[in-house]
Symmetry: C2
């Protein structure tokens, strides 16, 4: 059975009734909502849901519809860059579904959002029609305000929908790999240190490939907010090692971290193996994997 994940990021992390309305709209389609994380400082909510492809596209549409109606970007404040109410809507094929099939699904959804909700839609990553729009940060540069200024230009015509931003802004919809979203809190209140660390480790600053990072201020402390966009290319271990090294270089330490949304088991297991100096082939020595392969029962063992 084909299984697709969708992880839309909505520009609302404070008004609980709006968050609830979005999540309810998604859950009204035959999908399983796995997670919904709201962040007051980022003023964003990330919902994770899975299901069969058509159901997932329908659920995404319903969530975008509510967000478009309820969120006004001209009134929105938050530390995270954003261009729309349903700011980014990534799809990830999980099982028995190809990237090509998923791209077709997502382009149909984009067309529906553009035409029936009058929201400009930009297709990104694997779903991009224009190759320069593969990169989300390129589309989102300058946020709602920046995109509003250039959306009238011929080269910025959206893939679907009107060439102007309403209060709901634009939606960036695409197909990508599983992404790990990870925030590290520093023992400093100087956001410039977080920004310098972020610049040093991220791909666009000449740091690690497949790593994005920004420095922000959250709850009075500096935070490096990171994405590892392909953990098979740049492992979580490498990202964390370089983050710690960069922090040390600027004389600060990581006090704690947090994971936004969900993480595939393999990313954590591989982290453990690399950090323990075990060969990656040790993966096959995980008891539940071995049990599953002979009994078909992959449930994790429980330890009280």
């Amino acid at each position: 059975m084909a299984l697709v994940e969708c992880i839309p990021n909505f520009s609302e992390g404070r008004r609980q009734p709006v968050i609830d309305a979005i999540v309810s709209a998604i859950a009204s389609a035959p999908v399983d909502v796995l997670d919904a994380s709201s962040d007051v400082d980022h003023n964003r909510t990330v919902v994770t849901f899975v299901g069969e492809p058509e159901a997932v596209a329908e659920a995404a549409f319903r969530g975008i519809e509510v967000a478009t109606r309820e969120i006004d970007l001209t009134q929105h404040a938050g530390v995270h860059p954003r261009v729309g109410a349903a700011d980014v809507v990534p799809f990830v094929p999980l099982r028995d579904y190809s990237v090509t099939e998923c791209v077709a699904l997502v382009r149909n959804l984009g067309q529906r959002v553009g035409e029936s909700l009058s929201v400009p839609v930009f297709l990104y990553e694997e779903a991009a029609v224009h190759q320069d729009r593969r990169d989300l940060s390129y589309i989102r540069r300058g946020g709602y305000e920046g995109l509003g200024e250039r959306i009238g230009l011929p080269e910025w015509q959206p893939d679907y929908g009107p060439s102007q931003l309403g209060t709901a802004g634009a939606a960036v919809i695409g197909v990508r790999k599983i992404l790990i979203a990870f925030n590290a809190y520093l023992d400093t209140t100087d956001v410039q240190i977080a920004q310098a660390i972020a610049y040093k480790i991220r791909a666009s600053g000449g740091g690690l490939p497949f790593v994005k990072a920004i420095g922000v201020m959250v709850g009075g402390v500096a935070q490096v907010s990171m994405n590892v966009v392909d953990f098979q290319q740049t492992s979580l271990y490498t990202a964390m090692r370089e983050l710690r090294a960069a922090a040390a270089l600027f004389g600060v330490q990581i006090t704690r971290t947090e994971l936004i949304g969900l993480i595939p088991q393999a990313a954590l297991l591989d982290y453990a193996l690399e950090s323990l100096q075990l060969p990656l082939t040790t993966r096959s020595q995980v008891l539940e994997a071995r049990l599953g392969s002979v009994t078909g029962d992959y449930r994790p063992l429980e330890f009280e």
Copy 2:
């Protein structure tokens, strides 16, 4: 369905036909053999198998029977302490089976081994009748030779079987928690450094509770061979951190590590979370765990 794991350690890691005969005997019962790891230096083989309780006890008996016939401890050399052909035979209740039930199963097996194979059997850990025999290393002190000298003493009468050692030595059979067996290679050829590190970190040296460790020489390099016997009490992260700290104290480094047998997923996931400075509640953010709880399908996602 009740599920029990058995992880017998046999004192043969070199003669492949003998190893094959033991594994075949185990696999001739209706169990699933998950792993068999032989080590030439330790001259030991660890077999891991699972199944329903009675079948697991039967498989263990068949393996012990072959080992008793084929392995002569008077001819055995190896860096690992041992008292018998089927040196240690631990049982671990995995699902839907209590420690009490498992102890009864193991004592029946012990009686059968003692009486029908004429092998002295010592019950250890949860299965121990004599409380001073809970500790495996206490029973195994001095190895085959040491036990041979004291087995005639009243306080060393075995729980089952004769009060003297034949060529197959004794079998130590018990019920315990899942154990993590882990070897770390050092960048030194001085085994005394490995021994000093082992002494510093192990419980019996005043180090970490629930950690056993010895220093041995393997393939010309010094190795710390460790057991974490209760990873919920002393985590793999704590054990590794202290191991690294002790190595640094003696001016050496860990070049690589290896895992013997299998490891429960939770031990590696918790290691990753602790090392990443994530709260342990992040466990619930593992995608497959979340997927499994809504779809019943806990299979790990595959990444090509």
